[in-house]
Structures are given as structure tokens and as C-alpha cells.
């Protein structure tokens, strides 16, 4: 059996070259692959393209508490995203300085990103997409009327790497998620050339029911265990959740 289990996050990202494209999940902090993000920051690869549904700054936490996507901003050449920042905080204000220094931002709708990743996984050359017609998303793209309805030609996405946040993986790379860990990770794993997952637990082959596997081992190349109580761990998340609850402004954003 090929060994897919890596002992360190640094090793797992060691071959990511300058200019690589990376897809990963972010919907709140739960679905972040925090250890891989931190390792990629330490490695310092440059001119990266980051493909995410959302990139949102972490409020009130230090980088040691939460390694969120914005820590990678200095390493990015391009960002493909559906949500950049929080509306209540002036949306993308936090990336303005990078945009002024040359960061290219490609906006997408969430559903369009999911479909483009599927197109990448299924080997499609392009898709006629119904979303974005008449909006800024159609700028510079081919449009076409099919059966009386307008569509925009969108291109497949095949990231060089996917970072996926799993709950459990067996040693063959079969992954199950837990709640919002799942997000767009299954299709990112399918579309990417190399998929790296960080998981709460690595289990023996056979411990995951064949009917319950969500991301199959064929799509997973490297597995690293999140250190217990460490960055991105469920224990840490629970602590931070109570810390958030003590800060009024965040409570208002979160619970209203």
C-alpha cells in the first residue's frame, strides 16, 4: 500500500512551486485547512493563485489562534473568489492595498465556482452558465443564446493543489467530513492535480463504511493529522467559539 500519510504539514506542502494554483474551502473558520495554510505561509511560495468561495478576515484572533486565508495575501498573484470580506466591515477593504500592488481579483458566484470545478474534474472544455448575465461577471466573456436564454461561457478550473479539511481519513485516502467541513472540498479534490487533506483523525483501512465515503482515496494524495488541541483542532475551535461569544460586535454579526 502506498503511504499517503505525512508526518508534517511542511513536508506535505514542500513541493508547491511559485506560480501554483490552490483551491481550498472557507466558510467561517471551521472549514479552513489551517495547518496547511500556515505551512504554505512558512514555505513562502510566491505568485500563487488562490481559488476560494470566500476570503474573510478573522476578527479578534491572532494568527497563532487562527491561520486564515488572508495570511497568504502577500504570496498571491491572483484571487478567484465569491465573497471577499464581510459586507458589514466594508467588504473587500482589507485587500485593497494588495490590489493596488497588483493582485488580480476574479469574482465569481458561488454556484459558478462549483460548476467550474466540476467541469475541471469531468474534463469539460467550458460550460454555458446562466448566472451573471447582465452583471459584471459577463465582462470580457463570450455570451450565447441557447433555447431563447442567455448564457456566459465559463472555463473549467483545474487547480494544481487542493487543501481539504476532512474529519476522518483512512490510510487509502477515503475521507468523511463533519458538518461544514464538507463545503466545496469534494469537488476541489476531484478537480485538483494534487490533493492534500488535514483531518481530525487517521483511521485504519476498513473503518469507514463504503457507503459513507464522501471523497474517495483516488482523489487524495497526502494526509496529515491535525495536532490535538493545536491549530485548527476541534478543541481549539470550541475554545475560540466561547471567546467570540464574549465579544459583543462579533456576537451581533454571528447571532443576528
Amino acid at each position: 500500500m502506498i503511504n499517503k500519510v505525512f508526518d508534517s504539514f511542511d513536508e506535505a506542502v514542500a513541493d508547491i512551486p511559485d506560480g501554483a494554483s490552490i483551491a481550498t474551502g472557507c466558510w467561517g473558520t471551521t472549514s479552513l485547512s489551517q495547518n496547511l495554510i500556515a505551512a504554505l505561509k512558512r514555505k513562502g511560495a510566491k505568485d500563487l493563485t488562490l481559488i476560494v468561495h470566500n476570503i474573510i478576515p478573522t476578527l479578534f484572533f491572532t494568527e497563532d489562534e487562527v491561520a486564515n486565508l488572508p495570511v497568504l495575501l502577500p504570496q498571491l498573484k491572483k484571487l478567484i473568489a465569491g465573497v471577499v470580506g464581510l459586507q458589514v466591515l466594508g467588504a473587500g477593504a482589507f485587500i485593497k492595498e494588495y490590489v493596488e500592488m497588483g493582485l488580480e481579483v476574479e469574482f465569481t458566484s458561488h454556484g459558478t465556482l462549483a460548476s467550474r470545478l466540476y467541469a475541471g474534474a469531468a474534463g469539460l472544455g467550458g460550460i454555458y452558465n446562466p448566472v451573471g448575465v447582465g452583471t459584471i461577471l459577463e465582462e470580457g466573456k463570450e455570451k450565447r443564446v441557447i433555447d431563447g436564454k442567455e448564457y456566459i461561457l465559463e472555463m473549467p478550473i483545474r487547480p494544481d493543489y487542493a487543501f481539504i479539511r476532512g474529519h476522518k481519513a483512512d490510510k487509502l485516502g477515503n475521507v468523511v467530513y463533519w458538518g461544514v467541513y464538507r463545503e466545496d472540498h469534494p469537488v476541489m479534490a476531484m478537480a485538483a492535480k494534487v490533493t492534500i487533506t488535514e483531518v481530525d483523525e487517521i483511521v485504519e483501512v476498513g473503518e469507514i463504511d463504503p457507503e459513507h465515503v464522501v471523497t474517495q482515496g483516488i482523489f487524495v494524495d497526502r494526509i496529515v493529522k491535525v495536532p490535538e488541541g493545536g491549530l485548527g483542532s476541534p478543541q481549539r475551535a470550541k475554545e475560540l467559539l466561547f471567546k467570540v461569544a464574549e465579544i459583543d460586535i462579533v456576537r451581533q454579526i454571528l447571532f443576528k
Binding site: 465573497v83 458561488h110 464538507r182
Partner: protein, 221 residues
């Protein structure tokens, strides 16, 4: 100045559009206020991959929050019997295959049902697209809840949207603090007005011409 409906009341009126067995996705802001008034049997959808979940965790019960259950608006939700968790490919097939009703906020709605609700200005960084465009295009029914006019009194129901569009010809119904208006092929049909308001008074705060329904009535909850 005449009294307009409270935000809570707009939400209550919007919630009346839903019934047992409907699947609904609520946008952030005003639409979310509907959650508390929605009748039993309506099933909630969150873009980030949850269907049929239970009540949101309120401010005074943070001990109930589980970081694995966060909705698309970053609120903690509780699991409920019959809930399903899934990925975004499936989630957006739910949205785009016309099975959901969505209640969204709005900056502007045009007389043709065009919607602008993601960005007030021209700077793309000044707004978030997210799943809103998918909902506007894909939902079976798009209901917009918003104030009838801007803070400085300008109509938000307009002939042509000046803010960047979310989607064209997508809105089915607009519920404001003054009126309930249906988008029809013939134009905007004024169906209900806030108590104490006349059709003419609502028209005065609306840019395009309104068709007044024969059975125009006061908004009822």
C-alpha cells in the same frame, strides 16, 4: 410623517408567502428576520451545504453552538431530525434547479424585475456576490424584502437599476415597508399597501408606473 411598517412586520408579511413543504433560503439582513415567523413544515436551506436544520443559536445560548454547524451567514444552527449535510455542487443544484423559494434583500428592483442587491457602487470590492446571483437566477420564486425608499427618500423601485445588477428579470414579488408589489409581464402590480397609505401615496415614492390591483387591500399579517 405617516408611519411605515417596522422591519419585523415586513418580515412577518414575507413569511406569509411560505407554506408547509416549501424549501426556503433566506438572505442576510431583513430576510433573516423572517425565520422566526415562518410556518411549520417549511424547510431551511443554507448555501454552504445544509437542509432542514433546526433553530439558530441565539445570543444567550452560546453553549449550544457547535462549530461544525454554521450557516451561510456565519450563524450557528442546531441539527434537527431529517437534516441533510452535502457539498456545494449539490447545494447549488438545489438552488439552480428551481426548487427553492428565496427571500433576499434589495438595493433596487426595476419595473422589469431586475435586481440589484450585491453592491451599491461601482467598486467590485465594495460588495459580495456569493450565492446571491445563483439564488436570483435559479430559485423557483424570488421575493425581495426592503425599505421602499433609500435613507434620503429616493425610490428603490426604479425604471432601470443604476446599481450593479445581481440578475435580470428575476424578481417575483417585492415586499416593502409601504407595499406588496408583484412583478407581472404587464408591469408592477400594486396588491397591498401599508395601513393608512393610499395607492397614490405609494406611487409618489415609486419611479415606474404601478398598476393598481382591483382588489387592492391593506397589508394583513
Amino acid at each position: 410623517m405617516k408611519q411605515r411598517l417596522e422591519r419585523e412586520v415586513i418580515a412577518m408579511r414575507a413569511a406569509k408567502e411560505l407554506m408547509d413543504g416549501d424549501y426556503v433560503n433566506l438572505g442576510i439582513g431583513l430576510p433573516n428576520l423572517c425565520a422566526l415567523h415562518i410556518p411549520e413544515g417549511v424547510i431551511f436551506h443554507s448555501e454552504n451545504g445544509a437542509l432542514g436544520y433546526g433553530p439558530l443559536v441565539m445570543q444567550d445560548e452560546v453553549e449550544k453552538a457547535d462549530q461544525h454547524y454554521v450557516d451561510a451567514g456565519a450563524r450557528y444552527f442546531t441539527p434537527a431530525p431529517g437534516m441533510a449535510i452535502f457539498d456545494l455542487v449539490i447545494s447549488f443544484a438545489m438552488i439552480r434547479s428551481g426548487r427553492l423559494i428565496t427571500i433576499l434583500g434589495g438595493f433596487q428592483v426595476s419595473e422589469k424585475g431586475d435586481l440589484a442587491n450585491w453592491n451599491t457602487g461601482e467598486d467590485p470590492l465594495g460588495g459580495t456576490i456569493g450565492g446571491g446571483m445563483d439564488l436570483a437566477v435559479g430559485a423557483k420564486r424570488v421575493i425581495i424584502t426592503m425599505e421602499h425608499t433609500t435613507k434620503d427618500g429616493k425610490p428603490k423601485i426604479v425604471k432601470r437599476c443604476t446599481a450593479p445588477l445581481t440578475a435580470r428579470k428575476c424578481v417575483d414579488l417585492v415586499i416593502t415597508d409601504l407595499a406588496v408589489i408583484e412583478v407581472t409581464p404587464e408591469g408592477l402590480l400594486l396588491k397591498e399597501v401599508a395601513p393608512g397609505w393610499s395607492a397614490a401615496e405609494v406611487q409618489a415614492l415609486t419611479e415606474p408606473r404601478l398598476i393598481v390591483a382591483r382588489d387592492l387591500k391593506e397589508i394583513e399579517l
